[in-house]
């Protein structure tokens, strides 16, 4: 019989916290094969296969149904899956991996205190510079949705996969969208948050894929896991 495939982030605090939560529910995760392997099992259970994959890859695997369950950040799911509600089900917020997805603008933009102010600034910027102001982010989809919601259209996204908060000072963007937990990194880079600029208060979630091959047997395995996790 086929196994339930449960994806756990492959490294760092997200992996450790996930393993702790499973352990608290009496499920001990053990890596199988070599110590650096990407597969594992729950001790004493036959029907669960643990897959260690990166948090962003988990979002994608949930979307296409390659895994049944996974733990990853809501930010990644909302970003990677255009119709998240149709593809996955958020089963439980896990209380770790907190990160807010926020708009960060230079502190010297004294005239910008809220999302609405960006509209005027973006139009003036385009008139003066003959190009759109650039928003550096890895959250391209979340950014588009949020900006559209606030009626801001005169901008252009530049994809940034690292050190995003440094791009305004470096001159490769005018403002950013990034995750922050305390705002300290923004501050250190001469940036500030603005009212209405928080797009998402994200944390790690236990998530079910609606497109995975569910059978009654696999459902039963899932129910057992959820029961042990008191969900």
């Amino acid at each position: 019989m086929a196994n339930l495939i449960f994806a756990i982030p492959s490294k760092g605090r997200l992996m450790e916290a996930t393993i702790e939560i499973l352990a608290a529910g009496g499920m001990e995760v053990r890596k199988t094969g070599s110590e650096r392997g990407y597969r594992g099992e729950i001790v004493g259970t036959d029907n669960v296969e643990i897959a260690f994959i990166s948090a962003s890859e988990i979002a994608n695997a949930l979307r296409i149904g390659r895994i049944h369950l996974g733990v990853t950040g809501e930010d990644l799911v909302r970003e990677e899956i255009s119709d998240a509600e149709g593809r996955v089900k958020f089963l439980k917020e896990l209380g770790f991996g907190h990160a807010d997805v926020v708009v960060g603008v230079p502190k010297c933009w004294i005239d910008v205190r809220r999302m609405e102010d960006l509209d005027e600034v973006s139009m003036a910027f385009r008139r003066k510079n003959q190009r759109r102001m650039r928003v550096a982010t890895k959250y391209t989809n979340l950014t588009r949705r949020h900006f559209a919601c606030h009626g801001i259209s005169d901008y252009r996204i530049v994809e940034s996969l690292g050190a995003t908060e440094g791009t305004p000072a470096a001159g490769t963007s005018e403002l950013i969208v990034d995750i922050t937990s305390s705002g300290a990194t923004l501050k250190a880079n001469g940036l500030k948050m603005i009212d209405g600029g928080t797009m998402l208060k994200s944390q790690a979630n236990l998530i079910e894929s609606k497109t995975a091959p569910w059978t009654p047997e696999i459902r039963a395995v899932q129910n057992e896991i959820l029961k042990r996790l008191k969900i």
């Binding site: 230079p106 502190k107 010297c108 600034v121 003036a124 009626g151 259209s153 252009r156 001159g171 001469g190």
Partner: protein
């Protein structure tokens, strides 16, 4: 999906041959712009909304490229490269694939890979003449494809701009409303704000700074901002200068001293945007509206009327033409007359053809001036499904 069966491919090819024959017969030169285009130009022109649906990639040398999301910009580039100036008169037609991301691969009426058959009409200063010619060529092509039942929805940004120009209000409010036109919800909000609390744009600015900002005195205002930044340890980073920041804050302060927009004016603008009627009736309705508001936009209304008359003279069935003041709000690069042809079987969400005037677009390929430009295209997969009754 589309054209994946040999039979459908043949049908599309045969249909395209007929359409192109109509286009070239009307004096449009057939061209084949590149499918792979530099991403930059599109990203600056089309806005993030369509950018989010464009397939962008980096090639082996690190160049940012894209699969063209439409053929208008590529045709503008071709025109520019050929003439080295944008205002040369020319007429082009094409038939070829365009690509837009659709969630989950798209469906029959919204395929991610589709073929546009279109025409572009550049450089003719008699705008209503170009608009009539383009629309009649499209109508002729649809007629030859045996499409009988359809409606042409049209709008006119010239009217909207003329209306705002005729209303007495600070220039910056006008500019804001014109650019907000594309965002209905934000537009309504801004209109309400200008009526209720135009000064609210300065809310939340530090009082210590506000007292030092003097509208009209840029030097003093810039100094005040520099002092404020210095006192608070704020560094100037990025491309925006102190004078840009000062200009914006001066505007905010000035907003607070300007008289609010009269509620009756906001109502007039809303009423204008609510006009939706058969094209002839709409013209009369607009005239009444302006008369009762004692506003003179007769120039733009005459253009509207003249265009309509020209279209009737050219044999276009004006009964099929429906004007909607709101129409065109999701199409950011258009600047004047816009239209969409919809068939009852496919509905308004899936127009079979559409086009409009985009006099500013040539700037994005290198022109330093606006160039009269009018174009339209047929969504060939949709046309075929309407012709075959497959919907």
């Amino acid at each position: 999906m589309n054209a994946e069966s040999a039979r459908k491919f043949e049908a599309l090819e045969a249909q395209a041959r007929d359409i192109l024959a109509t286009f070239t017969g009307d004096g449009y030169e057939a061209v084949a712009p590149a499918i792979i285009q530099p991403a930059d130009i599109f990203l600056d022109v089309i806005g993030e909304d369509l950018r989010g649906r464009t397939y962008v990639f980096t090639d082996q040398e690190g160049s940012e490229l894209c699969l063209r999301p439409d053929l208008t910009v590529p045709t503008c580039r071709l025109h520019w490269e050929r003439h080295g100036r944008a205002d040369a008169q020319a007429r082009y037609c094409y038939n070829g694939p365009a690509f837009r991301f659709q969630p989950n691969g798209g469906d029959a009426t919204h395929p991610r890979e589709f073929r546009q058959a279109g025409i572009e009409h550049f450089g003719l200063a008699a705008r209503d003449k170009a608009e009539t010619e383009v629309l009649s060529t499209i109508v002729k092509a649809l007629g030859q494809a045996q499409v009988e039942e359809y409606e042409i929805r049209c709008g006119d940004l010239g009217l909207f701009n003329a209306l705002l120009d005729a209303i007495d209000m600070p220039e910056r409010w006008r500019g804001r409303l014109k650019s907000q036109f594309w965002q209905p919800a934000a537009f309504r909000e801004e209109l309400q704000r200008l009526v209720k609390s135009p000064g609210s744009s300065a809310d939340g600015l530090p009082d210590a700074l506000l007292g030092q900002i003097i509208p009209g005195d840029a030097k003093a205002s810039e100094r005040a901002i520099e002092t404020y930044m210095h006192d608070h340890g704020i560094e100037l980073i990025g491309a925006r200068t102190v004078s840009e920041i000062a200009a914006n804050i001066m505007n905010m302060v000035e907003d607070g001293t300007s008289d609010a927009l009269p509620a009756s004016v906001a109502e007039l603008i809303s009423n204008y945007l609510g006009v939706s009627a058969p094209a002839r009736a709409a013209g009369a309705r607009l005239r009444d509206l302006m008369q009762s508001a004692k506003l003179d936009i007769s120039g733009a209304l005459d253009v509207y009327q003249r265009r309509l008359q020209r279209m009737a003279d050219a044999g276009i069935d004006i009964g099929k033409l429906k004007f909607s003041a709101e129409f065109g709000r999701n199409l950011e690069y258009y600047t004047g007359f816009v239209f969409e042809v919809t068939a009852p079987t496919l509905g308004e969400q899936s127009p079979i053809a559409g086009g409009g005037r985009y006099d500013r677009l040539m700037r994005s390929v290198g022109s330093t001036v606006d160039v009269p430009a009018m174009g339209a295209m047929i969504h060939t997969e949709r046309l075929l499904s309407v012709v075959r009754g497959e919907v």
